[in-house]
């Protein structure tokens, strides 16, 4: 797929301007990938060849937690340190109309014309998780473009949690006092994926209680038999996807990462410095403990699976044979002959011949 086909001339030109650091080229490249236009995977293959180096931070949590404002504060602070920042903000596509209202840019009006920040709003476009496969690919594009930091802001519902760990090195889970209690956070699977918890709008009533509950819940986990496994890997991404692991994780450093619970007020910027410092500390830990490699391996594995799944689906349903058998099969079932299983068998047999 990738080595056999060269880049189209259009993509060659695009790539040249991309490598020159032209934002408009990044924007175009993102559209190519997001729309899965012809040759997009070849384009990704080419830009990803140099490997990841940006520090990727994902922000997830329930709607209304103030993630956008927090991301804006964090981005502004990184800019103050003269770092180049890419932001991907994801909002849900309406299942009824297929359209989307992407409103995260608004929180970032102050940095809107800063040439060192690039903000891209994306809609989930029918993906059930909070991030489409293409969202993760867009993050890779931004990394390849040369940003020091890539911030990912997700929708915060459904299976976002797993998705965002596949895109980010550090996952920040943002809650607000109205989010409910820590038990709900645990049920939602947030305990397993968070590297850092932030209680935003910390001036609201109930925030101290939520912080306490979260800390208690985290200590419980840490005190359990799972002590040796860093909390970040409470969910074994590899195992979540298949029964057997075929890859061996490298030897883990001693000492886990203790998940902190921070408080912020995104409107006044209180607590943001501490959050940045904590993100920095997590990054250092990832590198020193070797977990950064584990994470990247898992990301690569998930990506390979995603892409293969995507291609298989595409190949299958682009095939005239398959579509014909499908239509005929549905007619047959309506007429009382056959079941979805017998039809599927026929299609598979035809494709795998």
């Amino acid at each position: 797929m990738t080595d056999t086909l060269p880049l189209s001339p259009r993509h060659e030109q695009l790539l040249t301007r991309f490598r020159e650091g032209k934002p408009i080229a990044l924007a175009r490249a993102i559209s190519e990938v997001e729309d899965e236009r012809t040759g997009f995977q070849q384009l990704l293959h080419t830009v990803m060849a140099s490997g990841p180096h940006a520090m990727r931070v994902g922000f997830t949590g329930p709607p209304g937690a103030g993630k956008s404002s927090l991301v804006a504060s964090v981005a502004t602070s990184y800019r103050a340190d003269d770092e180049h920042v890419g932001v991907v903000a994801v909002d849900p596509t309406s299942p009824y109309s297929g359209g989307a209202l992407l409103g995260d840019r608004i929180r970032m009006n102050e940095i809107a014309t800063d040439p060192g920040i690039f903000i891209r709003s994306m809609a989930t476009r029918g993906s059930l998780g909070g991030l489409a496969t293409t969202t993760k690919e867009v993050v890779d594009l931004m990394d390849a473009f040369g940003f020091d930091r890539v911030l990912i802001e997700t929708v915060g519902v459904g299976q976002t949690e797993l998705e965002v760990t596949a895109a980010a090195d550090t996952v920040v889970v943002v809650l607000v006092p109205e989010s409910g209690d820590a038990i709900q956070a645990m049920k939602a699977g947030l305990m397993e994926i968070a590297d850092i918890f932030v209680v935003n709008k910390a001036d609201r009533p109930g925030s101290a209680r939520l912080v306490k509950e979260l800390r208690q819940a985290l200590h419980l986990r840490a005190g359990s038999a799972m002590r040796d496994i860093p909390a970040h890997h409470g969910v074994d991404l590899g195992a979540a996807l298949k029964k057997e692991r075929t890859t061996e994780a490298p030897a883990l450093e001693q000492g886990g990462w203790e998940i902190p619970v921070l408080t912020t007020n995104a409107l006044t910027n209180e607590g943001v410095d501490e959050l940045l410092e904590t993100i920095g500390r997590h990054r250092t830990w990832l590198e020193q403990s070797g977990h950064i490699e584990t994470r990247r391996r898992e990301r690569a594995e998930i990506r390979i699976r995603d892409v293969v799944d995507r291609e298989l689906r595409r190949v299958a349903w682009n095939s005239d044979v398959a579509r014909t058998l499908l239509d005929d099969g549905v007619d047959a079932i309506a007429g009382g002959a056959g079941t979805p299983y017998s039809v599927a068998n026929e299609i598979l047999a035809a494709l795998l011949r």
């Binding site: 404002s69 209202l101 409103g103 608004i106 929180r107 102050e110 409107l267």
Partner: protein, 574 residues
């Protein structure tokens, strides 16, 4: 006759009266039942039969609807007495008609000054200043953000010098002036007081209003400068200073107009406005002010939309709700504190660009509703305002509409003529109930400021706006000339007002000259003192007055305060 016999006779009469009454009601019910049968049997025309707010309107209202309402003396009363349902004053238009106050302003102070003199000559009885966007947002005409917007939809006032030009030849001790400005209101107010000073007019005789209602800006109009808490502090500073220095002046006009124009329903307009008003009262009380020292000068500003009866009922309900709140909750003792006085403006949002002459008719009906609702002052829109600022001719017709209403229609002859109408009293009660329910919701969120931070107001308003848009686009809600009766809706044939683009350069030049001529040291000193005052609890009005007299510009003064208060970061909600 013995007392006992009289007593028994009295009781017998009473019992007879009750039996008579019961019989009347039974008869009415029977008649209604018959009527309902005929009503149901006859086909109806295709219509929603709702108000623009979406409130269902029944085909018939009767005495029976009133039977469940409050006791009449408690809720209706007489004009000029608690709870003021029938009007804030005992004599209303029998003593003095509502003030005919047409909002005006454009280009430079000189041009607007001419328009004011024109309006006064044509019988307008009070002035109302419309500022341009840079001024509304606290920017000088020569600020880079003002490019292209100077004088375009209001008058450009960047300093005391402009304010002096605006009122040149207009005696401020005789003409009441209303200024529509919010974010930087306190600054423009000080320019006005200083301009009056220059005319030799003492502040104690000044009459007028400054809108200065920041809460509705966060909710609807979005012309803010500072964040909520400092903005509210400035407003209370004005309450304090004005109650001592300008006792005839209204330091605030608590507004529903903008909330309604942004898309809310009548009930939302009513509830949000009054709840904002109560919030200001609470802030004044929290400062340690005696409620009766500032509440009498709180004034209001409502929209007059298309549904004739709903708007009348809305004003009546507003007076009653305000009176009850002020007396029972906030313990005000002075009846002036219970009395809601309001300016009204016909709804801009109902004007159409198609067949603009129809707007004259819309405005006439809306003006009538305002008069029947008991407004104290009224602005009627001009027919061409969907296209641009009004021409002289259009503004004259709008003013004449009020004059015909006042002098020819007879509605001003008697007070609150619709009182007792089964429908209007029912509507008044319903609006009051709806508003109280919304108060509960707002209190549940912790009050107005938390509601604003959550985006609750903004979302409610946007949802109502969307519903109304759908009604119009589906054709369920008819707008003449737009979605029905469109013959004649072609290209516009009327003249519209054009603003000379050279205005901006002239204004910039004037400002440069002023900066040259003024005492730079005095200006700097005044600004520094202001910034310091912002850090403390000191009332900043005297400091801003000093800045005004030193010819500091609007932006300079705003920036001096922003150093301490910061600028508002808008959370956006759909």
């Amino acid at each position: 006759m013995s007392t006992i016999e009289k007593d028994l006779l009295g009781r017998a009469e009473l019992e007879q009266a009750v039996r008579d009454r019961d019989r009347e009601i039974a008869e009415l019910k029977a008649q209604l039942a018959e009527w309902e049968e005929s009503y149901d049997a006859i086909p109806k025309r295709d219509d929603l039969f709702t108000t623009v707010s979406g409130r269902e309107v029944r085909p018939l209202y009767t005495e029976l609807d009133r039977a469940e309402s409050d006791d009449h003396t408690d809720s209706l009363g007489v004009p000029g007495s608690y709870p003021f349902t029938r009007g804030p004053y005992p004599t209303m238009y029998r003593t003095r008609l509502w003030t005919m106050r047409q909002f005006a302003g454009f280009a430079t102070a000189e041009e607007t000054n001419e328009r004011y003199k024109y309006l006064l000559a044509h019988g307008q009885t009070g002035l109302s200043v419309a500022f341009d966007f840079p001024t509304l947002m606290g920017f000088d005409a020569d600020h880079p953000r003002s490019l292209g917007e100077v004088g375009v939809c209001g008058v450009a006032i960047s300093s005391l010098a402009d304010m002096e030009r605006l009122f040149e030849g207009i005696p401020l001790d005789q003409v009441s002036v209303s200024m529509t400005i919010n974010g930087p209101a306190i600054i423009l107010f000080c320019f006005y007081v200083a301009a009056a000073e220059k005319q030799g007019v003492d502040p104690s005789v000044l009459r007028g209003t400054v809108q200065n209602d920041i809460l509705k800006e966060y909710q609807a109009q979005h012309a803010w400068v500072f964040p909520p808490e400092p903005a509210l502090r400035l407003i209370v500073d004005m309450f304090e200073w004005c109650s001592e220095n300008t006792p005839k002046y209204n330091p605030i006009s608590i507004s529903g107009y903008h909330i309604r124009e942004a898309g809310s329903t009548a009930a939302e307009e009513l509830a949000f406005t009054l709840r904002n008003g109560f919030e200001y009262v609470e802030r004044g009380i929290a400062r340690g002010l005696d409620v009766d020292s500032f509440a009498p000068r709180l004034s209001f500003f409502f929209d007059i939309h298309n549904d004739f009866f709903e708007e009348i009922a809305k004003l009546r309900a507003a007076r009653r709700i305000w009176a009850r709140g002020m007396k029972e909750k906030y313990g005000a003792k002075n009846p002036d504190s219970w009395r809601l006085r309001t300016h009204c403006q016909t709804a801009g949002v109902t004007l159409t660009a198609q067949q603009p002459e129809n707007n004259i008719v819309r405005v006439a009906y809306q003006a009538m509703a305002a008069a029947l609702g008991g407004t104290q002052s009224l602005h009627t829109n001009s027919m061409d305002e969907t296209l641009s600022l009004p021409t002289e001719k259009a503004v004259r017709i709008a003013l004449r509409s009020q004059q015909v209403l006042a002098y020819e229609s007879g509605v001003a002859n008697t007070i609150d003529p619709l009182a007792g109408s089964f429908y209007v009293e029912q509507l008044t009660d319903e609006l009051e109930r709806d508003a109280l329910a919304l108060f509960e919701e707002i209190d549940g969120m912790g009050g107005v400021v938390p509601g604003i931070e959550e985006g609750w107001f903004q979302q409610e308003i946007a949802a109502s706006a969307m519903r109304q848009q759908r009604e119009v686009e589906s054709g369920d809600r008819v707008i003449v000339g737009v979605n029905r009766f469109t013959e004649g809706s072609g290209k516009l044939e009327i003249e519209t007002l054009k603003i000379d683009p050279a205005i901006e350069q002239r204004q910039v030049a004037k400002m440069a000259a002023m900066r040259e001529e003024r005492d730079a040291a005095a200006a700097d000193a005044a600004l520094t003192a202001l910034t310091e005052a912002c850090r403390t609890q000191e009332n900043v009005v005297p400091r801003i007055l000093d800045c005004a007299r030193a010819y500091c510009t609007l932006y300079e003064i705003r920036a001096a305060m922003e150093e301490v208060f910061g600028a508002y970061k808008e959370p956006v909600f759909f």
